[in-house]
């Protein structure tokens, strides 16, 4: 495919010339990466809305099988790729981290959709984790709410590109003493303990959202309750008197 980067020392012209004669020249790396990149087995693991788009990607129209990734494994032990498809809540986060720990090397993670990247639209919820990258490392972030099935395929291609860049000598999983397992957070009295894993994630240095709106926008709650007991004056006007005036630019 067009996007496959040629990493071997044999130059492309000679290679295609040989290819025409039926001789395939490949480095071990290429072979190794080709094999891995064409058989990424994702885990059958849906959390929320994005999971439906994930299923749609697996179905006839988008057909993820063209990328060798149609084999959705229900068990983390047999899968290479975890597609975190949907909102990760604080209650679910320990399970997600545990699933990641159970996956065999080499393992990759795609966060699909805004929710799993940073909490997305539900970022202000009291039970919503602001991004699964607080606990586990992520390979490809795929924004959208939900991303189109094509976008998921694009994310998968992005991951394939990443795999193509790896070399057999330097891959982490052949190094001694590698243990890509991360401590599983616990449910505490106010949220998860710890709030994030500083080895994996650090807060943004400048967080506009926090500066501008406060931590959650929700804290400025109202201090005056409506009085439903008061008698209704005839039929109330449907909307308030304040009309929608065109806002001025000043």
């Amino acid at each position: 495919m067009a996007f496959t980067e040629n990493l071997s020392s044999v130059d492309g012209g000679l290679k295609s010339e040989l290819g025409k004669k039926g001789i395939v020249v490949a480095t071990l790396n290429e072979l190794y990466n080709w094999g891995r990149r064409s058989s990424i087995w994702p885990m059958q693991f849906g959390l929320a809305c994005c999971a439906i788009e994930m299923i749609a990607t697996a179905c006839a129209r988008y057909d993820i099988a063209r990328f060798g990734a149609e084999l959705f494994r229900p068990s983390p032990r047999q899968s290479d790729l975890m597609i975190v498809a949907g909102t990760v809540t604080k209650k679910m986060a320990p399970q997600v981290v545990r699933l990641y720990n159970q996956m065999a090397e080499p393992k990759y993670v795609i966060t699909m959709g805004a929710c799993s990247i940073a909490g997305g639209p539900f970022i202000d919820g009291y039970n919503v984790l602001r991004g699964i990258d607080r606990y586990i490392p992520i390979d490809v972030h795929l924004p959208g709410c939900p991303p189109r099935p094509e976008a998921l395929l694009y994310g998968l291609m992005e991951l394939q590109r990443k795999i193509d860049g790896q070399t057999i000598e330097k891959t982490e999983w052949y190094q001694k003493g590698l243990k890509r397992e991360y401590p599983v957070p616990e449910c505490g009295p106010h949220g998860l303990i710890p709030k994030f894993n500083p080895e994996v994630w650090a807060p943004r240095e400048v967080d506009h959202r926090k500066e501008r709106y406060g931590e959650p926008v929700l804290i400025g709650k109202k201090d005056k309750a409506p009085n439903l007991d008061a008698p209704v004056a005839a039929r109330p006007a449907a909307t308030s008197a304040s009309s929608a005036s065109q806002p001025s630019a000043s």
Binding site: A60, G86, D124, Y126, N127, T239, A244
Partner: protein, 385 residues
């Protein structure tokens, strides 16, 4: 040797119940649903659902933003049918602020809601059959049809799943004649697909054996447990909010309400198929009667499209409900006269339909639990809201 002899005598055997944790990561729980099942051998003795793994604080978030800004969040409640969720929410707010909806918008709303019902039922049946062991083929067929309808949604509203199409007092975009033509084509071709889909497995012996007399829900229990939607009607209770409330313009259409006899899994499966036929009838009539022109949003609400934050309904409360594909979807909104609602509550059908999951599963084998759960038709976004 002694051990073997004693094992052969069942009375001497020391038996224990087995506790199984089912979920939250399991391919057959339709999301992050979890059940604690106690089994005696393979028979279910007790079943406790554990939810909240997708509790996204929809109510809390909605209480802190303007009324219109909650509309895209309702899409994400039951992410199969964003249109009917929008419908329920806009009905509630329209009731609260006493807003009229123009004629053409009413028709568009009904068309969209019924298309959503088709999408939902067809995919639910696909998943149910998938759970029964017909691995993925029915889902493939179902999603093929679903994609065609999603194309319509995308063309009309701009998004495949999260349509955010309804506005208080109307709908957002105009629906062009060529799109109506395409909907007509889909409606024309759908019965043929349904026939095939039905023939695929309805008379299949394995399906019949696994579905009939499994997970029977008696009429009285269904009413007392507030079950709604196809599940209630499969138990033989004639209650469809489209007929009872005649909300929007449903009073104008002629359609029947399919009812089940026994209330088992097969009835629930079949009621859904029949409901799709009725939906097609409604669509047929709506597409014939829809006025060619007309305003999309009522005059009163048109200025608020541009500035949703200025919309302040009067102090009061309203409960709007619609017959969503999964059951009665209700929105309870209390206004305090400010742009944000004081209280916003969702009465999620699939959440309440789960109440009697244990009653239906008791005494059945553990493999039937999955089938029964599939026939309840849950979507976790709605269960945990």
């Amino acid at each position: 040797m002694e051990k073997i002899f004693s094992a052969r005598d069942p009375s001497a055997l020391n038996t224990e119940t087995l506790e199984i944790n089912f979920g939250p990561q399991h391919p057959s729980t339709h999301g992050v649903f979890r059940m604690n099942i106690v089994c005696d051998g393979e028979t279910v003795v007790s079943l406790k659902p554990v939810m909240g793994y997708l509790h996204r604080n929809h109510e809390q978030i909605a209480e802190n933003m303007s009324y219109a800004a909650s509309m895209p969040y309702t899409d994400r409640l039951d992410y199969f049918n964003s249109m009917s969720n929008n419908f329920g929410y806009s009905l509630a707010v329209e009731k609260l602020a006493n807003i009229e909806v123009p004629e053409r918008a009413q028709y568009i709303r009904v068309i969209m809601a019924e298309l959503t019902r088709l999408v939902n039922h067809v995919s639910v049946i696909g998943f149910l059959l998938n759970d029964l062991g017909a691995f993925f083929t029915p889902v493939l067929y179902a999603f093929r049809e679903r994609e065609k309808i999603l194309d319509i949604f995308e063309e009309v509203s701009g998004a495949r799943m999260m349509c955010n199409y309804f506005r208080f007092g109307g709908v957002k975009y105009e629906i062009q004649p060529h799109i109506l033509q395409r909907i007509k084509e889909i409606v024309k071709k759908f019965p043929k697909f349904l026939e095939e889909f039905e023939a695929l497995l309805s008379k299949n012996e394995i399906l019949c054996m696994r579905c009939q007399n499994v997970g029977v829900l008696p009429k009285e229990l269904a009413v007392s447990a507030s079950i709604t939607g196809p599940m209630l009607r499969a138990s033989g209770v004639d209650y469809d909010i489209r007929k009872v409330d005649k909300y929007s313009i449903y009073g104008r259409f002629k359609f029947r309400i399919p009812l089940g006899e026994k209330g088992d899994v097969y009835d629930r499966y079949y009621v859904r198929i029949l409901e799709m036929h009725e939906s097609l009838k409604i669509l047929d009539q709506a597409l014939k009667d829809i006025p060619a022109t007309g305003e999309l949003v009522s005059k009163k609400m048109a200025p608020f499209l541009k500035s949703p934050r200025n919309f302040k309904p009067p102090v009061g409360e309203a409960y709007g409900r619609v017959e969503a594909p999964k059951g009665e979807l209700g929105f309870y909104v209390v206004s305090d006269g400010t742009p944000q609602p004081w209280r916003y509550h969702v009465r999620a059908p699939s959440f309440i339909n789960l109440t009697i999951l244990e009653d239906m599963c008791l005494g059945h084998k553990i493999a039937d639990v999955i089938v029964i759960l599939g026939s309840v038709d849950i979507v976790l976004g709605e269960v945990d809201h």
